[in-house]
Amino acid sequence: MADDKLMTMREAIAQYVNDGDTIYLAGLSHLVPFAAAHEIIRQRKRDLVFCRPTPDILLEQMLSVGILRKVEFCWAGNPGIGNLRVFRRVVEKGLPFPVEIEEYTMFGFTARLLAGAMNLPFMPVRTNIGSDLPAKNPKIKTIQDPYGGETLSVVPALRPDVSILHVQRADRGGNAQVWGITSDHRDAAFAAKRVIISAEEIVDEAVIRADPNRTIVPDFLVSAVVHEPFGAHPSYAQGFYDRDNDWYQEWDRLSADQAAVDAYVAEWIDGVPDRAAYVAKLDEVTKAKLQIEPAWSGQISYGVYK
């Protein structure tokens, strides 16, 4: 049984994200930790190394306020829509703020995190061969198999200072459960020095213990737990709400103009004190549109053993 770690996002970010940190924001395009990212922007944490396989619009917003030193990634697009326009400006023209980039493939990137989670210095991967990427990223190396003698590509472990995960439910100690797409959540937590969990629901520890096979992160890894309903909007939370696809399309239009992006940040991130205010500010039609009907999993029995 762990301590009660429930706190506000403001407290969690203030306490556990430092200037200069390597931060990992978990989730493919599911459970994207937008609430946490916005608080990092509000607090203007500086000089960050941003790690995320599919950086998404989080990245656009962080790039726009110049708090990143470097981006480590494998696919920087607007998922299902197209390119990331701020990211393009940054990489193509160094505007509004230049950053360093470190690029991998999806397998390479997630294998780096697995190596970090397993505390191995590297992970061999059967990719990168024939690609131009290793020539542009000297951290992609090769190794000799001591059994068959084969040469394998290897990627170095990724060990974030802090990983931030949005999940469906957690208890106050930090036991966290995720269903649907689990993407990189588990490895992000195990690879990191510190873990911040934000959750759609805070549940009693007994709910977690009734179904231990669903637990992705155990409490003793976790530094902070934040209750953040709708914390993944505009992305989705399986079983809770749908993706706000109109918003993603709107971003594609809006982000053609950096001034419009800056205005968005001023209004929707800096202009609100926290996630609750952001949610209150969203119009009711949008919120209604994202509601879904339940589809139940069914129950299994663990059995009483005495």
């Binding site: 396989p53 998922p79 024939g130 690609s131 689990t182 490895d187 589809a295």
Partner: protein, 256 residues
């Protein structure tokens, strides 16, 4: 015969390349559309997998992204991303890797990274994502993209995703486990690869398209099959399903 667009022809021709019981690792957009089309017509038992870790999806709508929740509810299994890449793809369980891209060359290599120099690109695309390994490790790779001289290029600005590399046995010598591209489908025609040289050749043209038109939209001296055929027209059924899946032609108009 019903009227159809070349983009519709493209997606139908690609769908036909999928076989029943194929295990298919798809990218979002047109590959997913073609795969669902195949599953709803001649290949009901194919398995649809996405890099978000979804195995055996039965999507109720055309997914908006690789992690659309409509892929999740009712699927048969879910694993983490690195598990999908290692336990399924690297392990050799994927029959078909189905990809798009920004540029392709005559050996089926793909660029989805940059136009111009990597360090200071004229255009920065999203990057590989899983494309490099999907093409490296699937038993066969299918490529779908609209055709044009800036897309079918003599030399890629960046080799993101290996096809047959420099052709011949270059791919095998490099040690890539998967079989390489089996087909490239565009809005003008369908291309296959010479079994020895591994160079792409035009195998069928879509109805109303001339070989010259295809050549004009290809950045190298294109080879053409001696027995060049016309791509069989979409059936009523195929068109019905495509239009049901993409009623506003959102995907088809954007990318083709």
């Amino acid at each position: 015969m019903t009227d159809y667009t070349r983009a519709e022809m493209m997606v139908v021709a690609a769908a036909r390349e999928l076989r029943d019981r194929d295990v298919v690792f798809v990218g979002v957009g047109i590959p997913t559309l073609a795969t669902i089309l195949a599953k709803r017509t001649h290949a009901p038992n194919l398995w649809l997998l996405t890099e978000s870790g979804i195995v055996g999806a039965m999507p109720t709508r055309l997914p908006l992204s690789i992690a659309d929740p409509c892929l999740v509810t009712g699927t048969q299994a879910i694993v983490s991303t690195v598990e999908l890449f290692s336990l399924y793809l690297q392990r050799g369980w994927i029959d078909v890797g189905f990809l798009g891209g920004a540029q392709v060359d005559r050996f089926g290599n793909i660029n989805s990274t940059v136009i111009g120099p990597y360090e200071k690109p004229a255009v920065r695309f999203p990057g590989s994502g899983g494309a490099c390994e999907i093409a490296s490790l699937s038993k066969r790779t299918m490529i779908i993209m609209p055709q044009g001289k800036r897309r079918f290029v003599e030399k890629l600005d960046f080799l993101t995703t290996p096809g047959y590399l420099t052709g011949g046995d270059a791919r095998q010598r490099a040690g890539l486990l998967g079989g390489g591209p089996s087909v490239v489908v565009t809005d003008l025609g369908l291309f296959r690869f010479d079994p020895v040289t591994k160079e792409m050749y035009l195998a069928t043209v879509h109805r109303g398209v001339t070989v010259d038109q295809v050549r004009e939209n290809t950045g190298w001296d294109l080879r053409v099959a001696e027995d060049l055929q016309v791509t069989p027209d979409p059936s009523e059924e195929e068109l019905r399903v495509v239009r049901e899946l993409d009623p506003t032609a959102h995907f088809l108009s954007r990318e083709a």
